[in-house]
């Protein structure tokens, strides 16, 4: 179905505008509003959710929507392939992918707003209007990013969510650590965005358009260019697409905290836990992956780019999971887990598993938001203690928190039938079949697979340390009660984490041969869709060959599923053996030298800090010294020399009049001699 209908889609901009209004209202009048400004945000996000659902239903009804809202600017610009003119616009693109994402974002945003009532308001925080305003601004930016219909608009809101992230991480600005973490988060992502911006500029300059969809999209233009065998900026079209795609990927790696730009995310846990749940788990971090999905058609043109995405994803999944194993802080564990899970999504997308990637994105959004909010609840219970070694035994004292958290944990670990299992399995399966033909992908798959074990392990280590065993501190014995504002979001998310996996049970569908892979249908244009932005369109473009084990796709699938489930269970069981005891102890010595390596996050922070402070800063200081001494020295030297020669020149004036007469006559005679010689007067 083509994207024509307006109808309910006319309200689409309101999805983003409502939170913007909430932002303005809260910023200006927050202090005077009840609940310190929470209400405008709640109302606005509820409204956004409502409209998003309407959009979702409308797309389900077979429609899609693509329109330009506002022309930011336009002008003449000769591009390498396109026409002479270029227009930079703000537009709305509602297709299955964005409709789904809108629902996720607005739902999590709403739940986090509600949760904040219990988490922030109840604790007597100061600066709450600021908090809610920033949340509103974030929600606005994120939603606008999601329905952006072009790369530039996406970049703009991509940056804005980065700003909100910065502000919210630094919410407790009176501490030393929060502002530092905020700075780091923004800087590292900025570094990625630097490449992204080059990518945007390059794509715009190459194709004369930045649109995602339709005939005028850069994807179509790139396809044409490749078909025509064009030369772009001195490269053949294929290479240029790879280069620009990888440049954009820089932004993705930064935002989605992929290696090597992952270091900011654990630090970002300095922000309020609600923020971590919303921004650093469910939504903003997803922006990177979402962007890859959004312009998947472009990446599909470049197998090289895809392979790199897959490999980085697989590597990050394993890399982060291992670090999560040794963390003491519950939020830190979740942070590394987030990095790892986004690695899976990248892996999925990188092997052409568009559906798998989006599926994991969907599931992860819910279960990770759940886990973070659960952790938030635990933190409330524990009077803002985050060290798991000081917890224990909370299972009985806070059953709602425990069970919902457990649901999230099962989903995260990938235990059947919780949502995480389905999507992770699909990712791994897609990677496997490609990997059988492509060694690089196989390596990525292997890393992803190993990571499953670690995931199971750290997840349940966290669960056991937090909720099981004996309380290991006074607060753990007598936890602070939590209210409905905390429980309701947990329950909602707990249910979602349990069931969302059912929307795309690919193995079941394959085994029973029934059409229950709803998400795949959804993304494949069974309902509403926009031309070119469908799974099979992508699938056709992706030039990967697929292989199978044992000659049968089903066997391969079962093998893959069994393998990952087995590893997950193994991980969980190891955790159970080690930590599900009344008095768990650290098992550092078992890891030997690896322990300190992991505790120090593979020294990733160290080298990045060295890059900033050990290299760039001294370089800057050296430049400054150079500037002060050499360049400014020349400037000042000129004046010194002038004044020095001035001092010398004025000494001629000795004050003795006879000398004057002599100099005068001498000067005169000198002139006479020169002129006489030239004129031949003495001849």
């Amino acid at each position: 179905m083509a994207a024509t209908a307006t109808g309910p889609f006319g309200f689409a901009p309101a999805i983003a505008v409502l939170p913007l209004v909430a932002f303005v209202v809260t910023l200006l009048f927050g202090k005077h509003l009840p609940k310190k400004g929470a209400l405008p945000g709640i109302i606005a996000t509820a409204g956004s959710l409502l409209i998003s659902l309407v959009m979702f239903v409308a797309v389900g009804g077979g429609n899609a929507y693509h329109t330009t809202l506002y022309e930011w600017t336009a002008g003449a610009a000769a591009s390498e392939t396109g026409a002479d003119g270029v227009a930079f616009t703000f537009g709305v693109l509602i297709d299955p992918l964005s409709a789904l994402m809108l629902v996720i974002v607005s739902l999590v945003a709403l739940l986090v707003h509600v949760f904040s009532l219990g988490y922030m308001n109840a604790e007597g925080e100061t600066g709450l209007p600021r908090y809610y305003a920033e949340l509103g601004l974030f929600t606005f930016s994120m939603l606008a990013f999601v329905f952006a219909d072009n790369l530039l608009m996406a970049f703009m809101f991509f940056e804005l969510v980065g700003l909100c992230s910065y502000l919210l991480i630094g919410f407790w600005f009176r501490t030393e650590s929060a502002p530092s973490a905020a700075k780091k988060a923004f800087l590292v992502t900025r570094f990625g965005d630097y490449f992204f911006l080059i990518g945007v500029v390059a794509i715009a300059a190459t194709f004369g358009t930045v649109g995602f969809a339709g005939e005028g999209s850069f994807v179509t233009a790139a396809e044409t260019a490749i078909d025509d065998g064009a030369t772009l900026f001195g490269f053949d079209a294929q290479t240029w697409v790879t280069i620009t795609g990888l440049l954009v990927l820089g932004g993705v790696l930064g935002k989605s905290a992929q290696f090597p730009f992952h270091t900011w995310l654990p630090d970002a846990m300095e922000g309020p836990t609600t923020v971590s749940a919303l921004i650093h788990a469910a939504t903003m971090v997803a922006a990177g992956v979402y962007l890859v999905a959004r312009m998947f058609g472009y990446y599909a043109l470049s197998p090289t780019a895809l392979s790199i995405i897959a490999f980085v994803g697989g590597f990050t999944a394993l890399f982060a999971a291992t670090m999560g194993v040794v963390k003491d802080d519950v939020k830190q564990v979740l942070a590394y887990s987030t990095i790892s899970q986004y690695g899976y999504m990248m892996l999925g997308l990188g092997v052409g598993g568009y559906v798998a990637g989006v599926f994991h994105l969907l599931n992860h959004a819910f279960f990770k938001a759940l886990l973070f909010l659960g952790a938030g609840a635990v933190i409330v219970l524990m009077h803002h203690e985050q060290n798991m070694w000081k917890m224990g035994g909370l299972k009985d004292k806070a059953p709602v928190t425990y069970y919902t958290f457990l649901a999230g944990a099962l989903a995260l670990a990938g235990i059947v039938p919780f949502s995480g299992f389905w999507s992770k399995d699909e990712v791994l399966f897609d990677a496997l079949i490609i990997g059988l033909e492509q060694p690089v992908i196989l390596a990525a798959y292997a890393m992803g697979l190993v990571a499953v074990f670690f995931t199971g392990f750290y997840t349940f280590r966290m669960v056991f340390l937090t909720f099981h065993g004996e309380p290991r501190s006074e607060t753990a014995e007598d936890p602070h009660p939590v209210g409905w504002a905390i429980k309701v979001p947990l329950i909602v998310l707990g249910i979602l984490a349990t069931v969302t996996g059912l929307v795309n049970m690919a193995p079941v569908a394959k085994l029973l041969n029934v059409d229950i892979t709803f998400l795949e249908f959804w993304l494949d244009g069974e309902y509403g869709y926009v031309e070119g932005l469908t799974y099979h369109a992508y699938h056709e473009t992706v030039a990967f060959e697929e292989g199978v084990i044992g000659g049968s796709e089903t066997t391969t699938m079962l093998l893959s599923a069994g393998l990952s489930l087995g590893l997950a269970l193994a991980g969980a069981f190891t955790a159970h053996t080690l930590y599900n005891v009344p008095e768990p102890t650290r098992h550092m010595q078992k890891l030997g030298g690896a322990y300190s390596l992991l505790r120090n996050n593979y020294y990733q922070d160290e080298y990045q800090v060295w890059l900033a402070q050990g290299f760039t800063l001294p370089l800057a200081r050296a430049a400054d010294r150079f500037d002060q001494t050499v360049i400014d020295g020349i400037v000042n030297g000129t004046s010194t020399v002038s004044l020095f020669s001035s001092n010398w020149v004025k000494r001629i004036q000795t004050g003795i009049v006879t000398n004057y007469a002599a100099l005068l006559v001498g000067g005169f005679i000198a002139l006479l001699l020169v002129l006489g010689y030239l004129g031949g007067w003495f001849a």
Binding site: K650, R651, Q653, T654, G655, I656, V657, T658, A661, A662, V665
Partner: protein, 101 residues
């Protein structure tokens, strides 16, 4: 019998140079003044010789003016030398060096 004009010129130049030499070497203000007078008179020699040479009276006339002006100059000069003496108790022209550089 006429003397060639170049001899007059040589004479005047000699006088001029003597005057100049005096200016450069004498430190007594009065001698300085006299040396200048010599130089002026060197010019007068020239003027009159050339007037004769060219056969017009302009030079002679101008020589008269020069003499008159030289006298006026000396008058002013002496006045200044007087106040010089009053202030510095000396008429050595190298003594007043309060202002230099």
């Amino acid at each position: 019998m006429t003397v060639d004009v170049q001899y007059y010129v040589l004479l005047s130049m000699a006088v001029f140079c003597i005057g100049l030499f005096g200016v450069l070497t004498r430190r007594n203000a009065l001698l300085f003044l006299m040396s200048v007078e010599l130089m002026l008179n060197a010019a007068n020699i020239n003027l009159i010789a050339f007037a004769f040479y060219h056969g017009n009276l302009t030079g002679q006339l101008f020589a008269l003016f020069t003499m008159a002006l030289a006298a006026a100059e000396v008058a002013v000069g002496l006045g200044i030398i007087l106040v010089l003496y009053r202030n510095f108790r000396d008429i050595d022209v190298t003594v007043p060096t309060t202002m230099r550089w």
